[in-house]
């Protein structure tokens, strides 16, 4: 079965963006960037909450043009309010997110990247549909912002799989979700 991996970067105080969605504080660096091709190659499908989609994916950072899907992956945006897909590369999932993801996991293909935001991640964690959590912890405290794990409301036991540190102070941790 395909894995759902919640993979993203966060501040040490567990925010994934500033309150206004800003991510100017995120360090990357060549060492981190050099791992992206391998990470991208492990996924062919991406799951995104509507707010995160609005904040991060509407425009290409280079051209300012609207992009078709995200990095040529099958892109699913979870929204109760969007009626029509903003472009051909994006499908809207408006209800039964859990059921949809459960059937997606049974299809053949590469792993599924749960890109966030926290609200979508929390709901899929509650439904026991997330298989791995991969965080890249930035060496900064923001004090406020959009939380990584909002109100899951239950305990989720994890097993540490990988721990890696980068020269610019990022700590990469990967966990298996115990079901």
């Amino acid at each position: 079965m395909r894995k759902v991996v919640y993979s993203l970067t966060n501040s040490l105080d567990n925010f994934i963006a500033r309150t206004d969605g800003g991510y100017d504080w995120i360090l990357m660096g060549d060492e981190v960037m050099s791992e992206f091709p391998k990470i991208y190659a492990s996924f062919d499908t991406i799951l995104i909450g509507r707010k995160t989609y609005d904040q991060t994916l509407l425009q290409s950072p280079e051209t300012g043009q609207e992009t078709a899907g995200f990095m040529e992956m099958k892109t699913y945006v979870f929204s109760r309010t969007m009626k029509e897909s903003p472009n051909a590369g994006v499908k809207i999932i408006s209800d039964n997110a859990g059921e949809f993801v459960r059937s997606l996991k049974n299809e053949s293909g590469k792993d599924i990247w749960l890109f966030g935001g926290g609200i979508l991640a929390a709901s899929l964690l509650r439904e026991r549909l997330v298989d791995e959590i991969s965080v890249a912890i930035q060496p900064i405290l923001l004090g406020s912002g959009i939380p990584l794990f909002p109100d899951i409301g239950m305990q989720v036991d994890l097993q540490m799989l990988e721990c890696k540190t980068y020269k610019n102070g990022i700590v990469g941790l990967k966990y298996l979700v115990k079901h």
Partner: protein
């Protein structure tokens, strides 16, 4: 005077459940992860009243004869025999100057609100955070609101067989 934090959190950033329970921590603190070595480097502890009261419920007083300054504006509950506890009050800058005047060179700051107040005031130099491989969903967060970004310098990260991951940061001055 240098002030350090040495604390365990869940991956979702909580130091206790909402009711203060720490049943999700590995029993007995888990495998050794540097606490004894750390505590040997500090001259004293500064803890909040709530932490003091929580520690009083433990079977044994965990700080030996190490001086403990408990922050409270009210009289403290009596400490067990052998414990060295003194009440102190004031804002973090006042606490730091009182402790420095008494020759304390390295203090361990503990307790959620106390850590947050000292961080806000720019009076923490070192953070040693041990992540326990669990999400507890809700609880008392380690970190709180800040007036500004607080930039950190990553010093080292160690991981342990049980899945504990300990990261050490210097707080940029």
């Amino acid at each position: 005077m240098k002030a350090s934090v040495f604390i365990a959190t869940s991956l979702d950033g909580f130091i206790a459940r909402a009711n203060g329970a720490i049943d999700w921590l590995p029993p007995g603190g888990g495998e050794p992860h540097g606490y004894d070595e750390f505590i040997a480097t500090v001259d004293a502890l500064v803890i909040g009243r709530k932490t003091f009261e929580t520690v009083l419920t433990f079977d044994t007083w965990p700080y030996g004869a190490k001086p403990v300054f408990a922050l409270s504006t009210h009289t403290l509950a009596p400490a067990p025999p052998g414990a060295v506890v003194e009440r102190m009050s004031g804002d973090p800058a006042e606490i730091v100057s009182q402790l420095s005047a008494r020759g304390i060179r390295h203090v361990y700051v503990d307790g959620g609100i106390t850590i947050q107040r000292f961080l806000q005031a720019g009076l923490i130099q070192r953070l040693i955070i041990t992540r326990v491989p669990v999400l507890i969903g809700e609880g008392i967060p380690l970190f709180g609101a800040t007036h500004r970004d607080i930039e950190l310098k990553h010093i080292a990260t160690r991981h342990y067989a049980s899945g504990l991951v300990q990261s050490e940061y210097a707080v940029a001055g």
